[in-house]
């Protein structure tokens, strides 16, 4: 581990010549996924090639296998690749119903301790929705809360589901939220909670957020009830900046915000884990009905890849690709079916590549 970091820094130094800093290729683990996954992944790879982004893709499959001891786990080569590269890009994964193993997303989350789900929601000019000027980020705690999966039948007809809130997880997500705000020039962080009803659990979450806010005095910290956020979000989404919240509220609010900008087909998403691992993904489904027909819309995966570039510090490439994508959508000449046009996925991809090459 130390060696590869050392080698990486050495190779970066070697490449500085005549004041020109040539970045070395960085490896990213690519998980194409199922359904339309492979098509949109290849679309993203093509666009990155056109932009000459210094990314080397390592394709891996994450279908669960039964490891020693009978526990389901992701294939060891996928895990090894991810541990090495630390960055992943994932397409949509099929949730198996009768395969016997848990959902792949859950498995990935547990394997890499992906504790923060980040969804920046920015209105896309050219893809009209009733809401314009949306520009907010939802940061959702992804490991505990209402989705702990701890449920019991107390007596016949009475079920209890346990919502777990811990100090450590709350502190971790709050710290991530403030760090994110600072690194991305965001001005305020709002904690979303229901502490008037769930006094102890959301109260603990809120206390941790307040404590962390003390260390980030340059960022404005506010607290708002979940219902007030929902009420204000559908009337005036411009008043929100960064939102941090526990699992269930995060699930609902992040999908609400995705709906504001046009749905899951155009929303990027990133999962940040412990040990520096980050997996960026498209959150839409596998769309088996259009798989293989060259009709898929790669925007969601592309924007997630842009998020990934920004995470890696490659802001120039990220901006270039994002501008090309938004310009194509704004132009409305070459759009896939779900965006209101009738072009093929390959045509949409080619158009974006053309714009990138024109920009260079």
């Amino acid at each position: 581990m130390v060696n590869s970091a050392y080698m990486k820094s050495i190779s970066q130094i070697i490449y500085i010549e005549n004041g020109l800093y040539k970045q070395c290729m960085q490896t990213v683990t690519l998980i194409p996924g199922d359904g339309i996954g492979p098509e949109i992944s290849s679309a993203v790879m093509k666009i990155f090639e056109a932009a000459k982004a210094p990314i080397r893709w390592e394709e891996r499959n994450v279908t669960a296998i039964k490891g020693p001891g009978g526990r389901w786990m992701i294939p060891p080569d996928a895990k090894e690749s991810m541990d090495r590269s630390k960055i992943g890009l994932k397409g949509p994964l099929k949730t198996p119903i009768a395969a016997g193993h848990p959902s792949m997303n859950l498995l990935l989350r547990k394997t890499f301790d992906l504790y923060a789900n980040v969804r920046p929601c920015v209105s896309i000019e050219g893809y009209k929705t009733p809401y314009t000027d949306v520009n907010l980020v939802t940061i959702r705690e992804n490991t505990e809360g209402e989705y702990s999966g701890i449920e019991h039948v107390i007596v016949d007809g009475v079920v209890q589901s346990i919502k777990l809130i811990t100090e450590d997880a709350s502190r971790r997500i709050a710290e991530y939220a403030f760090e994110y705000a600072r690194n991305n020039q965001r001005t305020s962080v709002t904690a979303v909670h229901k502490a008037n009803i769930m006094r102890m659990s959301d109260g603990l979450f809120l206390r941790k957020c307040r404590e962390v806010a003390e260390n980030y005095k340059d960022i404005k910290f506010t607290e708002m009830y979940l219902d007030t956020v929902c009420l204000n979000m559908v009337q005036d989404p411009t008043q929100f900046d960064v939102l941090v919240m526990p699992n269930l509220y995060g699930d609902i609010l992040s999908d609400l915000c995705a709906g504001l900008i046009g749905g899951l087909g155009v929303t990027p998403s990133g999962n940040i884990g412990a040990n520096g691992v980050a997996i960026f993904e498209s959150v839409h489904g596998t769309a088996p009905d259009i798989a293989g027909l060259d009709m898929a819309n790669p925007t969601a995966l592309l924007l997630s890849a842009v998020m990934m570039l920004r995470h890696m510090g490659l802001h120039d490439y990220g901006n270039k690709i994002q501008t090309a994508c938004f310009d194509t959508i704004r132009d409305k000449k070459v759009l896939t079916k779900d965006l209101g046009g009738n072009s093929k996925c390959s045509e949409f991809t080619a158009e974006i590549c053309r714009r990138i090459q024109d920009m260079a």
């Binding site: 449920e151 659990s201 999908d255």
Partner: protein, 355 residues
């Protein structure tokens, strides 16, 4: 909306007695306007005012209020503030009232109102939310320092009861479709039980189509195409989220009334239950929600003529943009709006008290 099954509350000398709990924030001024309007219209309703002091730790105030509601059967209430910085033993007063009186159904009818500019048009959704259990059970404990568990309880009896209420309400109002909102893919046992109960009840109402939707997809659909929904039934927390989203879609918290029905009691309030602390006593609050809630109250006690008269007057005032209050983007004041409603009543209605 009352389902004809409960006996009307007791009347003395032809006049109804209704408990009035002003609450905090904008509650007292809105309660005052309701009384003013009722007196002007000669509505045969007397209000028994019970004040609940939210800063007191003892539960005497809220118990008095509950006793008054038991006595009268009907109440109109403002929201009582919950200071969540107090220790957890201090329960939310509003929650206490709902669970003690077993007001199991919270009904919120969100309709697009004429004259109010919103991004979406033609919304007509009835939201029926389980009001007493689910995530609001207030059962929390800290087993290990730093780890808090909060219990969400779903029972078969209450789920069946709320599902039954939803289908009866749909049948009574001629609605065609009931959608259950849940998260049973994650909370398999809890929301799974709720969904099963809804399906069971649905089988007894063949003329009403029943479907279900996961809560995150529901919110996404609500902001893109809210016209697809008719009646929605759901557990407590999702009800909170969905009702606030719908209230925002039709114009905000100042426009939608809410009703809480139990077997024996009914309590009416604003739909989104806000205290409006920041605009209290500024004369800028929108009285529409509270006044429409009082119309629901009049319908409940079978004073339908008065209810329609006041409702008509409110709707005609809403269409006048220059009277819109700040939450609707205008600059009108609360008293102007109420005055205009009274004028509208006077010009169309029966004998009214001279101003």
């Amino acid at each position: 909306m009352r389902i004809p099954k409960q006996p009307p509350p007791a009347r003395y000398g032809g006049r109804h007695t209704v408990t009035l709990i002003p609450g905090d924030g904008i509650g007292p001024e809105l309660a005052h306007h309701v009384r003013e309007l009722f007196r002007f219209c000669c509505v045969p309703v007397d209000f028994e005012v019970v004040n609940v002091d939210s800063s007191m730790a003892s539960e005497d105030d809220i118990n008095n209020a509950i006793m008054a509601i038991r006595r009268n059967g009907v109440a109109l209430k403002g929201n009582i503030e919950t200071n969540h910085n107090l220790p957890p033993s201090y329960k939310s007063r509003n929650s206490l009232l709902r669970t003690t009186l077993d007001l199991y159904a919270n009904v919120m009818h969100c309709q697009s109102l004429p004259g109010v500019r919103t991004r979406h048009k033609n919304i007509d959704i009835m939201i029926i939310r389980e009001n007493t259990e689910g995530e609001y059970s207030s059962l929390e404990h800290e087993n290990v320092p730093g780890v808090v568990e909060c219990l969400k309880i779903i029972t078969k009896t209450k789920s069946l009861r709320i599902a039954d209420y939803a289908f009866r309400a749909a049948r009574a109002t001629g609605r065609r479709r009931v959608t259950a909102v849940h998260k049973a893919n994650i909370m398999k046992l809890a929301d799974g039980l709720f969904l099963e109960c809804c399906k069971e009840v649905a089988s007894g109402y063949p003329e009403i189509s029943f479907d279900s939707m996961i809560v995150d997809n529901t919110t996404m659909q609500l902001v893109s195409r809210p016209q697809q929904f008719d009646v929605m039934v759901m557990p407590n927390l999702y009800g909170n989220v969905v009702s606030n989203v719908c209230a925002g879609l039709v114009g905000g918290p100042g426009l939608v009334p809410g009703a809480n029905y139990g077997e024996d009691y009914a309590v009416f309030e604003t739909g989104t239950r806000n205290t409006g602390k920041s605009i209290a006593n500024h004369n800028t609050a929108n009285p529409t929600a509270m006044l429409l809630a009082s119309c629901l109250l009049l319908d409940h006690v079978k004073l339908h003529a008065y209810a329609s008269m006041i409702r008509r007057a409110i709707l005609s005032t809403i269409t006048e943009t220059r009277l819109h209050t700040a939450d609707l983007g205008g600059q009108g004041s609360t008293s102007e709006v109420v005055q205009s409603i009274m004028n509208a009543v006077q010009s169309t209605g029966p004998q009214t008290l001279s101003i």
